[in-house]
């Protein structure tokens, strides 16, 4: 049975979800862990 106020609560939930989705879209991609390359030159002592 629907009660008075359900529509309002529903719209607030929808608005909250919309804000959460917008925030998620605005976040930068999670940075990947970097593997560092060291190019190293040497010669016989």
């Amino acid at each position: 049975m629907r009660r008075r106020g359900d529509d309002l609560r529903g719209s607030r939930v929808l608005a909250g979800l919309t804000v959460a989705l917008a925030l998620a879209a605005a976040l930068p991609a999670a940075a990947a862990e970097r593997t560092v390359v060291g190019e190293y030159w040497t010669q016989p002592g």
Partner: protein, 209 residues
């Protein structure tokens, strides 16, 4: 010492040694990379093609930490397998969703660990290289593969054979930033390991007959 840094950072750092002068490990590409960065002294280090480590090895620990802290939006997944005399390397070079589309030069490098044999601190000697320029869109991957014909020296010690893949800005001289790298050394490059060739499957977690 570089080998100590490698031992201490086995999953986030891959050194590639270029041996010059009269070294038995000399390859012409060692000079090519020497000239690419305009190096004039040895020993010398360049980090990720971007940070000039110079010859001040006392700073190299901090240099490595500085590069490890730089975020990247690239990932590289790779595999490598020795089949007869071929080292087959596959790589998926990707830019994460939300990252920046990039033109990169992908380097496939074959290395031989613990070579030359006259110093225990010699690691990952350069052996061969293959490069390919690609455009990697954000949120997408590019698949690349290459087969190297290994020399007799490498085939005689497959446990030390490795492959490194890195994605670098496609410039004609350094600095040129390396955005990401991946590598595999040793047994992971071999299909015939953990007793496979002898029929001893005790080292395998799953065997389907």
């Amino acid at each position: 010492m570089v080998s100590d840094l490698f031992d201490a950072n086995p999953t986030t750092f891959i050194p590639v040694y270029y041996h010059l002068g009269t070294s038995v490990a000399y390859k012409p590409w060692c000079t090519t990379r020497f000239d690419f960065y305009g190096v004039t002294l040895m020993p010398y280090m360049w980090w990720d093609g971007w940070l000039d480590g110079s010859y001040t090895y006392a700073d190299w620990n901090a240099d490595l930490a500085a590069r490890q802290a730089v975020p990247t939006d690239m990932t590289i997944g790779m595999s490598s397998t020795i089949l007869v005399d071929q080292l087959v390397v596959d790589a998926d070079v990707c830019v994460e969703a939300g990252g920046t589309t990039k033109d990169v030069r992908v380097y496939f490098v074959v290395i031989l660990d613990h070579y030359p044999d006259d110093a225990t601190y010699y690691r990952n000697a350069f052996r061969q290289v293959y490069t390919q320029d690609v455009n990697v869109p954000a949120g997408d991957c590019v698949h690349l593969d290459h087969s190297f014909t290994l020399e007799a020296l490498d085939l005689g010690r497959p446990e030390d054979v490795g492959a490194v893949v890195w994605a670098q800005d496609p410039l004609s001289s350094g600095p040129a930033e390396i955005h990401q790298a991946a590598y595999i050394i040793g047994e992971d490059t071999q299909i015939f390991h953990d007793g496979f060739e002898s029929g001893d499957f005790s080292g395998w977690s799953e065997v389907v007959q």
